[in-house]
């Protein structure tokens, strides 16, 4: 059930998109945030062999089965989270980066994130004025059960506030911003710990950027709410 091979013919020079038939799991071990259960992770390996050549490429990733939902509570105005259908009380910390000179070693990520988990935190917020954090950061958040709230790079530097007044319309090159955003999403999207993308630090990006991000990050229609077939 958890091994599938597909034959494909790819034209010369072509770049194609392919979706595997969905793989079925009965009661998979779910990934839970720190304090709610185990951080079960499955190793996904994708490999391609080419006739007359042999192994051509291989990719692997640790994957956690989990569903993260969040919504704004109408009574309090606060954002509430559920993981695998269970409400979770967020105990979060603000994170910019582990070092201002970007000495971002695996060892340092491992130590810092383990420390946050040991503090009983279950979420880290990557502030919009800092980094889109690196895969090593996300790996240790996956392993230690830290949910991640990842912001894009919009702050008071780009909203017309401040003294002197900042550029009111975000970075100058909106297309470049979106190129970087889309690439960052592709880099990080498979991590179990990735809980929420946010447009920027305590504010909304310029209209065109915000609309594009919302469009790109919208839920695929197939993953909507229960449509009568028992889907969660």
């Amino acid at each position: 059930e958890h091994l599938h091979t597909q034959h494909l013919s790819i034209p010369p020079g072509a770049r194609v998109q392919y979706s595997f038939p969905e793989l079925f799991f009965y009661k998979p071990n779910l990934w839970w945030p720190n304090g709610m259960g185990e951080q079960s992770l499955y190793n996904i390996t994708i490999a391609t062999d080419v006739e007359g050549f042999g192994e051509s490429d291989m990719w692997d990733h640790l994957f956690g089965f989990r569903k993260i939902e969040s919504y704004i509570d109408s009574a309090t105005g606060g954002r509430l989270f559920k993981v695998n259908g269970q409400p979770i009380f967020i105990r979060g910390g603000n994170w910019i980066l582990s070092d201002g000179l970007l000495r971002l070693s695996k060892k340092r990520y491992e130590t810092d994130i383990k420390f946050h988990a040991a503090m009983n935190f279950n979420m880290m917020r990557c502030w919009g004025g800092g980094l889109a954090e690196r895969p090593e950061f996300y790996h240790y958040c996956d392993v230690n059960g830290l949910l991640v709230w990842q912001e894009f790079w919009i702050t008071g530097d780009v909203d017309g506030r401040g003294d002197p007044i900042s550029n009111p319309n975000g970075p100058l090159d909106h297309d470049l911003f979106l190129l970087c955003a889309r690439d960052t999403i592709k880099l990080l999207r498979n991590h179990a710990s990735l809980a929420l993308w946010v447009g920027g630090n305590e504010q909304i990006p310029p209209d065109d950027i915000n609309a594009a991000l919302k469009l790109d990050l919208r839920l695929h229609p197939s993953f909507g709410n229960d449509n009568g077939n028992g889907r969660v």
Partner: protein
């Protein structure tokens, strides 16, 4: 011959201030490569920043001790060229027939030109994007390759007002880059604005067909009893013929130390 997979280039790098180097990128990667860490070249921290390299070589003090940040010249006073640096390394890579190799930069701040064995490639602007260059055709047939990268600081490094403040003069916000680097309420200004090859550099060796950016998603039914894994990816055929492939996905879980259940 090279094995299919990734080779990380995180050692053996040298760096030098661009104004101290009169050679071109073509010369550095053909006839006049640096011989080692002798002035103006120094051992470089890659991944890292220009400032990180200068601190490592004790050219400037560590800005996070005492008030030592004040001893380091800010890019607004020095000019962008002061923090424009060459990075150089060598690597071995000899491909078999029908193998391909990409040179990957997972992030550079803020823009760069790459020279490999005398061939130039431009990398675009933007701090938060990956760059991947197919260098199959410009690898050295002997296997020893010379790589030089000139890295430019952000286009708008800005100036720190006398009283500091949130984001300095906000100029850095004009670029797609980290904005704390002009200083914030929790951070001193970063003098080079984090210029550098600040994330992983690697080679990825593949056969004719390359796997690109798989996307994994799960869906759940019946109160999480049933789950499905949805996988989408891109495949690129770099050969000149129709590639007949078998594409395989396998999911395993480690039951005990190194014992896996498929």
């Amino acid at each position: 011959m090279a094995e299919i997979g990734k080779i990380v280039l995180n050692s053996g790098w040298l760096a030098a201030r661009s104004t101290d180097i009169e050679l071109t990128g073509e010369q550095l990667t053909t006839t006049h490569p640096p011989s080692g860490p002798s002035s103006p070249w120094m051992n470089a921290v890659v991944p890292g920043t220009v400032l990180g390299t200068l601190v490592e070589n004790k050219v400037v003090p560590d800005p996070f001790y005492g008030l030592e940040n004040k001893e380091i010249v800010d890019i607004a006073d020095s000019g962008r060229e002061h923090y424009t640096f060459w990075f150089f390394t060598k690597f071995e890579c000899k491909l078999a027939v029908n193998q391909h190799v990409d040179l990957n930069f997972r992030a550079i701040n803020y823009s760069a030109e790459v020279y490999l064995n005398g061939h130039k490639r431009d990398l675009g602007r933007g701090m938060f994007r990956r760059h991947s260059i197919d260098v199959t055709d410009i690898l050295s047939p002997e296997g020893q390759n010379l790589l030089a990268v000139i890295v430019y600081p952000p286009d708008h490094p800005g100036r720190i007002p006398p009283k500091g403040g949130q984001g300095g003069d906000h100029e850095i916000g004009k670029d797609v880059a980290a904005q704390y680097v002009e200083g914030w309420d929790w951070m001193t200004p970063i003098r080079d604005r984090n210029t550098g090859i600040w994330d992983e550099v690697s080679l990825s060796i593949t056969g004719p067909v390359k796997i690109i950016d798989p996307h994994l998603v799960s869906s759940f039914f019946d109160g999480y009893k049933r789950a499905y894994l949805h996988t989408t990816l891109e495949l690129e055929n770099r050969s000149g013929w129709v590639a007949e492939c078998s594409l395989k996905i396998q999911v395993t879980t480690e039951v005990e130390n190194s014992i896996c259940l498929v």
